[in-house]
Amino acid sequence: MRTAKTPQARTMSLVVTLVIAAGAFLMLVPFYWLIVASTHLSRDIFSNPPNLAVGDQLFTNLGHLFGDTGFGNALKNSFLIAILYALIGGSVCTAAGYAFAKFSFPGQGVLFGAVLITLALPSQVTLVPLFQIMVQLNWLNTYQALILPNLALPFGIFLMRQTMQSVPDELIQAARVDGAGEFRIFLQVVLPTMRPALAALGIFMFLGQWNDFVYPLIILRTADAYTIPVALASLQGVSDTDYGQLLAGTAVSVLPVLILFLFLQRHFVAGILAGAVKQ
């Protein structure tokens, strides 16, 4: 496919690169604006002409954010919930993926079909029932109310099943012949070969929980239980919104996942692909 570098090809290359670069610029404008806006006071954010340089009020904004609004609490809640969710959810999905990929048993097709169908069901249908269940269990404002319902993530089960299929049967057989227990085989023989997929799933689940909004919005009724997205939405809802504070909070909410992304970009991409391309 690579053609020799004729002048024509060089022009084409330049044009394509310029167009893609212009698009990339547009994609990054909101991020730059986030940095600008979170470093200015609310009244200076909306000025004409707009401030385009990075300001020096970041710490004022952060001070308001963490001092007045209990945002520190939201940060703690979000971290704990997302980490617990990724760890526990990653474990149960991986175990299920292993069962589907490496065993054959009666009912397998039906059970896996049930997992796939729930991929297509709109989760909004369960909002009202889940709310009522959590009210009856007295679980409003709790971590378990946010963590438990989505632990069995259809996408996660699907992803792990796909990846587990590449583990050679001989490896598992050999361990069995050596007398290893089934759970030990799973932990010590199968899982170590799964590290990239586990990382992809963990990141995917962390991100999903970190950014989840509608469901936490109905389950978390008091400010000290808020996660970051709910806390941000509540800051925006008031009539005299402090935009400096709000955008500093937005920056704080984006920073951890941005760092995670820049260091683990490969695994992010792997997570999207593993679920999508193999069918």
């Binding site: 893609i20 299920a96 069962a99 097709g109 297509a120 709109p122 970051i228 997205p229 955008l247 991409v269």
Partner: protein, 301 residues
């Protein structure tokens, strides 16, 4: 189902075979959670959709909620808004994603890694975060975007305050957020198209555009089917963007089915009506997903 699941019972080695119960034990946590937090709530929602709560008492109303829904102009408005956003945004995004993937794959693009990060990075931003960000960018009087438009001599646009432009704003925000995601999927699929096909087409004298239509696009079909179905399902459930950007306004111009469900359930506490909306939405999603799979499969044959 794939071949491996329908294969007749694998080897029955007494030695080196797993106890029969093992796979069920590995599946147990997932299925307990599934039954408690997915299947039971779904069935319960169906029951709720047949009831109405009045003065603390639950009454069975049969199809009453569904009949009311069939005559509810606000529901039709929400459905129309959702459909409009769907038919404009999804094709726009998928077309951009195909072009992006082809550019990245072509070998014409320099410094690929940098651009890939730029296009992919919006994925990590949460819906609320980018909703807030876009609402300041699109601010009518002071927003950066209107400033940019004015400085090149164009008029200001009432992005969030006008029924038409509010929809456009949501389409822009969605496209910014999700295009990279689809492009990554296409890029991977492109890498699996055999180079021989391109060579053969080139020998036959096909132009670059002909090669795109006759080799690239057919090769991408499985990935396009998948992203089309997933984006359709996602868009039909649209909630966060209108909630944060426009709160459904102005004048319900960006009210989506998802938002209307939420309003009925958690603003008016009409759980029966909200559940009926959920079930109608499930039906629409199911039918559309089936049609899309059928259409794209027929074309492939």
């Amino acid at each position: 189902m794939t071949a491996s699941t329908s294969k007749p019972k694998r080897r029955r080695l007494g030695y080196g075979a797993a106890p029969r119960l093992t796979p069920y034990l590995f599946l147990l946590p997932v299925f307990v959670l599934f039954i408690a937090f997915k299947i039971y709530p779904y069935l319960y929602a169906f029951w709720l959709s047949l009831t109405k709560v009045q003065r603390g008492q639950t009454f069975f109303v049969g199809g009453g909620n569904y009949l009311r829904l069939a005559q509810d102009p606000i529901f039709y408005k929400a459905l129309g808004n959702t459909a409009l956003i769907l038919v404009i945004q999804v094709p726009l995004m998928l077309t951009l994603a195909v072009l992006l993937a082809v550019a990245f794959h072509s070998g014409l693009l320099k410094w690929r890694a940098i651009w890939r990060t730029a296009y992919f990075i919006p994925i990590v931003m949460g819906l609320v975060a980018y909703g807030i960000l876009f609402s300041t960018l699109l601010n009518n009087q002071y927003g950066l975007i209107n400033f940019a438009l004015q400085s090149i001599g164009l008029p200001r646009v009432p992005w969030l305050g006008d029924p038409f432009w509010a929809k456009i704003s949501i389409i822009i925000a969605l496209t910014w957020h999700y295009t990279g995601n689809s492009a990554v999927i296409y890029l991977a699929q492109l890498q699996s198209i055999s180079g021989d096909l391109y060579e053969a087409a080139e020998i036959d004298g096909a132009t670059a555009i002909q090669r795109f239509w006759h080799v690239t696009l057919p090769g991408l079909r499985p990935a396009i089917t998948l992203t089309l179905v997933l984006s359709t399902i996602g868009t039909l459930q649209l909630f966060d963007e209108p909630y944060v950007l426009t709160n459904g306004g102005p004048n319900n111009a960006t009210l989506t089915v998802g938002m209307y469900l939420y309003q009925n359930g958690f603003k008016y506490f009409d759980f029966g009506y909200a559940s009926a909306i959920g079930y109608v939405l499930t039906g629409i999603i199911g039918i559309l997903a089936l049609i899309q799979f059928r259409l794209l499969r027929e074309k492939a044959a």
